[in-house]
Amino acid sequence: MGRYLIRRGIISVFTLIAISMVIYSILALAPGDPLSGFANNPNVPPELRARIRHTMGLDDPIPVQYARWASAYARGDWLQSYSAKIPVRDYVMGRLPVTLKISGTAFLLSVLIAIPIGVLSSIKQYSIFDQVATTFAFLGFSVPTFFSGILLILIFSVYLGWLPFVYDSQVTGFWPNVKQSIMPITVLGLAGAAQLTRFVRASMLETISQDYVRTARAKGLREQSVVVLHAMRNALIPVVTVMALQVPEVFGGAIVTEQIFRIPGIGRALIDGIYSKDVPVVMAITFGIAVLVVLFNVIADILYAILDPRIRYS
């Protein structure tokens, strides 16, 4: 396991270096010189612009620029935001709590919905409950979050007027905060729950038909303990790894919901960054999500090995 982890770690570092090169090249090769930021500002006189470009090293070849950028990143310096005029690190960290609050709660909600419903619908396969649950999971899995978000806004904000549809980060107090978070959490949570329910159900169905489950029943155990202690424990192993893989998606999904509900989080910062060509911000968020994807891939593998004694890495 130790050697496996070291090898995985080395591969991950190389993957991240490759990803950073891909992202950097996409930005560097784009027409309109997006990397140059305010050095491109037409209000700046040409000679001053040339001097800024020179001091920023924008006239160097792209590999040199990349190396400079990479070494700054490795030292934890995420450069300066072009538009917010503060270090990107502070900017991103300031946006992170809202996203974590909304998307994190949504993630928990999806797990809390998916596991009981998936398990129940597998042990009562083809029952009315199962049919309703699978239908809803299918609908939830097919409805894009931008549409479910719009529907919720139309119903609960426009017609009923119960919930605000613009998220206001200045709002204080527990209840107003809950009220403005309900819809985004529901949208993200239900979308995640729909996917996860299908997975839990499939995994449970596979486990429940195994011989050892029949043995457990045959030796007279109560159904509850057969399901919870015998079947579920094994069926949830792949589910846990899928959950680990979904964590980075939480941030990807936040891009759309934060745009719909105007939540000032990471996803919103990314879109604003793209619109204002604020390359350091875009780079930091994009690369940050890549780091999460790679990290949680490794975590998923480790969890799998810990939970399932049949899996041994060498």
Partner: protein, 339 residues
């Protein structure tokens, strides 16, 4: 056939060793007659006939198929026939609801929403289908090469797949579309006279190149499994080239998962394009796709909810029908479920 087997020297020596003992002798190859008779009792069924019979039993998949073809016909055939134009501006009818003149109402400029939905639906559907095709072709090519050739190229291609899987897809898609779409638009405007084609190509290729990885893994796994089967050895023994082994003998046998993945990929690509346009990073605003109509509608929920409801419902219904088709195909093409 026997001439070929015995006469043409097979390409690799070890294969001969393996195959020759299994070439059935004339005496043994004659199966007991009653088994043959049994086979003839039932009418012949083909793989595709079986699949179709199975698929028809899946009611929701059939409903999905009908709905999807209805969408295709309505948008591709209906749009040119529909009398209203997509850019007929009529401020007196701005933001009006459902009426006889405008069955789906009008938008903020008084343009007919049904006309825009039909016109833009062609783009949304075409993006979905072509992007899924790009992903499937790239994924199949890479997966097949890795699985069939193996060795160094397998390792290399799988590392490439891992790298692409780790890319942050949605952010990259947004960034690429935003940074490159003007250049694509201008280039195609100059060379072909239609900049929208450039945006279409950009979006389709980028979505395709960011979503081929699951197919590649799937195809590689199926290839690894299938290339060990006896009928591939037999093909090798009669001198089938590696190309023909790959595409004539193995590929048809691994088509089922590819077809299912392709179907579901169409829905996913439609959603992706809608997300792009919804964020204002897809097609330009004078090209109405379902996603960009939502983008136009999103600041006018209180006054004109129908502007968002109709295109949103179209996306939802299309994706739902495609997913049901995929579900039905998965069941129909799975030989374990076929009776």
């Amino acid at each position: 056939m026997t001439d070929l087997e015995l006469g043409a020297p097979p390409k690799s020596a070890p294969a001969v060793q393996l195959v020759v003992p299994e070439v059935p002798g004339t005496a043994e190859s004659a199966a007991p007659p009653h088994e043959v008779a049994d086979l003839r009792v039932k009418p012949q069924r083909s793989l595709w006939g079986n699949a179709w019979r199975q698929f028809r039993r899946h009611k929701l998949a059939m409903a999905g198929t009908i709905l999807f073809f209805f969408m295709l016909i309505a948008t591709f055939v209906g749009s040119p026939l529909y009398p209203q134009q997509i850019d007929d501006i009529d401020f007196s009818a701005s933001g009006s609801g459902i009426s006889l003149a405008h069955p789906f109402g009008t938008d903020s400029l008084g343009r007919d929403i049904l006309a825009r939905i039909l016109w833009g639906g062609r783009i949304s559907l075409a993006v979905g289908i072509v992007a899924a095709l790009v992903a499937i072709v790239v994924g199949t090519a890479i997966g097949a090469t890795a699985g069939f050739i193996g060795g160094k190229s397998d390792t290399l291609l799988m590392r490439l797949t891992d790298l692409f899987i780790s890319l942050p897809q949605v952010p990259l898609l947004l960034v690429i579309s935003f940074l490159y779409r003007q250049a694509f638009y201008d280039f195609f405007q100059r060379s072909m006279g239609s900049g929208v084609v450039g945006i279409f190509l950009l979006i389709v290729v980028v979505i395709g190149l960011l979503s081929w990885m699951p197919t590649a893994r799937l195809v590689r796994a199926s290839f690894l499994e299938t290339k060990e089967k006896e009928f591939i050895e037999a093909a090798e023994a009669i001198g089938a080239s590696r190309f023909s082994q790959m595409f004539r003998h193995i590929l048809p046998n691994v088509m089922s998962p590819i077809i299912v993945a392709a179907t579901l990929g169409v829905g996913a690509a439609i959603i992706t394009e809608s997300v792009l346009s919804f964020l204002g990073l897809g097609f330009p605003s004078d090209v109405p796709t379902w996603g960009s109509m939502l983008y136009d509608a999103k600041d006018r929920f209180e006054i004109a909810p129908h502007e968002a409801l109709f295109p949103g419902t179209m996306i939802f219904l299309t994706v739902l029908s495609i997913n049901y088709i995929g579900d039905g195909l998965r069941d129909a093409l799975d030989p374990r479920k076929t009776q």
